[in-house]
Symmetry: C2
Subunit: 378 residues, 2 copies
């Protein structure tokens, strides 16, 4: 398994990113991913009850079609809390792409990130699509990445290859998210492309496991976005024997897990205003859920996060956060080991003395800069 922190598209994929004018800054804001071969697709979306219009439309398409060829993503506007007009706009944008690429409308998936509650300027998107499509290239993934970023301070790309049987299989992913799993600006989006031959059912299982151990184990401020999406497209161009089990599935799942985990860690590393990258390991739990509850309660504690920012080894706040998590725990069962707070990387180990399960969560500290960024953003 070889990996590089660049976006190198698997066989059969093209991508592009342009500026269509949604961002006042003039930075790239419209991205397209295209697969010549119709691909199976699986996605994990936010569990927020208020979900953005493009997610509603993508969910419809994921139900009505079996294969997919394009993903259109805009930044600068989340197209969320925009009512029926928002749905209409999301559908229209998929329509423009389908028309230009001469593919079925429901084979186009759509996504957005940016401010909530403002209507999308669909005319700008329509106007941008011809250039977006004509500029599609096998080297275009980095351009697509640039066009999905918002407050991100660095690009989040990874590519990886492995052999399944004698066939080389490639996975490439781009992501955005400045730390928070949060509404309206720091939405987390991740698009994964692979040329592996794999059924939707098997792919979905592998994706669920990969996301549970990565994007579902990071938290910056406990806020949940209305637009969060992890989407994978598998177009089968590698020609491997369809992955269904055994060492092939193990290898592919491990690779997919690595892709998700590395990107999730980059999201936390890029957390808004953060000065620390915190790894929380909760061990000796009764089960995974108990470990995760305890770990996320610490990760979401404003007091713990400010203590780490202040290099203040405050064990009491960790104990209180575990106690507040809703798990059953007695004081004498709780063991806490906090590493040095001096460097960028902080390691916290917590034992619950209740069993053998464990969970690892990544988070950041909470700094005055976070407030500065989020007080001003609009």
């Amino acid at each position: 398994m070889k990996r590089i922190l660049k976006a190198v598209l698997p066989v059969g994929f093209k991508a592009n990113g342009i500026s269509c004018g949604l961002k006042k800054s003039g930075k790239p804001d419209l991205a397209l991913i295209y697969s010549k071969l119709p691909a199976v697709a699986c996605a994990k979306f936010t569990t927020n009850s208020i979900i953005a219009a493009p997610l509603v439309v993508s969910k419809m398409h994921l139900k009505s079609a079996k294969r997919f060829q394009a993903v259109l993503i805009n930044s600068g506007n989340a197209n969320c809390f925009t009512g029926k007009e928002g749905i209409k706009d999301a559908k229209a944008s998929a329509g423009y792409v389908a028309e230009k690429l001469k593919i079925a409308k429901n084979s186009v998936l759509v996504n957005s990130t940016g401010i909530i509650g403002k209507r999308l300027d669909i005319a700008k998107i329509k106007k941008g699509i011809p250039a977006l499509v004509s500029g599609l290239s096998v080297a275009g993934a980095h351009k697509a990445e640039l066009a999905i970023m918002t407050t991100d301070t660095f690009v989040k790309e990874i590519s990886l290859s492995l052999n399944l049987g004698a066939k080389p299989v490639h996975i490439c992913a781009i992501a955005k998210g400045a730390g928070m799993i949060a509404p309206d600006m720091a939405t987390m989006l991740c698009f994964i492309m692979t040329d592996a031959v794999i059924s939707k059912k098997v792919l979905d299982k592998a994706l669920t496991a990969a996301v549970d151990a990565s994007f579902n184990c990071i938290s910056v401020d406990g806020c949940m976005s209305t637009n969060d999406t992890v989407l994978v497209l598998a177009n089968g161009a590698a020609g491997n024997k369809s992955i269904s089990g055994g060492t092939e599935l193990q290898g592919f799942s491990k690779a997919l897990g690595t892709v998700c985990l590395e990107l999730a860690k980059m999201v936390v590393l890029d957390a808004e205003g953060a000065t620390k990258f915190i790894q929380i390991d909760v061990a000796q739990a009764k089960n995974f859920l108990q470990a995760k509850k305890a770990a996320l309660s610490i990760a979401n504690s404003a007091l713990f996060k400010t203590a780490v920012y202040g290099r203040n080894p405050n064990f009491g706040r960790i104990a209180a956060a575990v106690g507040a998590s809703g798990i059953e725990i007695k004081e004498e069962q709780l063991k806490i080991k906090l590493g040095s707070l001096k460097g960028k990387f902080v390691h916290l180990q917590v034992s619950l003395s209740s069993g053998k399960a464990k969970c690892r969560v990544f988070t950041s500290d909470l700094s005055p800069e976070y407030i500065k960024i989020n007080a001003a953003y609009n």
Copy 2:
């Protein structure tokens, strides 16, 4: 019903507060409330699994005794996460008070607030108790209030009288808490004294209702303290007919509700680093729990709170917080009305278009000052 924002003890109560040396600053840190007449007592404690030693001891006493005469409270150390020694220290401190006042040990309740995880300096408390007891006076409630404060910037006192039948009944309460319902420094403590004649059962019901609509409806940072306590002592000195129902119970409950609500609002007003006092009214909910979930999810959203700090009327963050609360809600049902963000007082009204229930919650904004205070505290 007359009320003043000063602590005037009901008939039969005395109080005092002194400095025994727990606080490095030399400020008052040891308080005592005493009732000559044995009083019935009810308490609401934190639901954190990790609870402080004095709460463990007070819970034992509340089970083993029927009447209570004293409450000892120290600030400067929470006596939490201190193991068996912590329990021993809490018991010992109750013992010293009992001995000096010549009352039963289990008629003494104890409480602490301050840093978590450090052993209490019980020798200092022991040494302070003779002066604490000899200084007890009917005018001593303000001194007790001063001795329970930690990062509070103003005192939180209220006194109120009402007539039940022909008898005047008094309620007086002192509280501490600098905004957060939070571990290790901003614990919320409230001690309520009344001379009303009332059974434990009826008092407990009235207290539950009062706390549910006040202290359980405030949030500053979503952190839950290991020491939070609301305690009421009723010594019966007023000689009214025992409150059991009808207009008497209504009147008393209303008064108790007012006492708790006013103090809860003071806690939010004194929130660490806060520049805003935010009232969130969620209406047209299916039931109270739904309204409360939505309201607290907004109140605990770091993004909403930073937006208010930045005077940024960001509706998207409010919608996202409601959607993330776990309640079932459709976008078209959600109506948001946010008042001016210019002044100290901010009013947010949210309608869920789902029923007739409602909930009011108070919170503060999140400022860089909050982080400064909590990064440095130890």
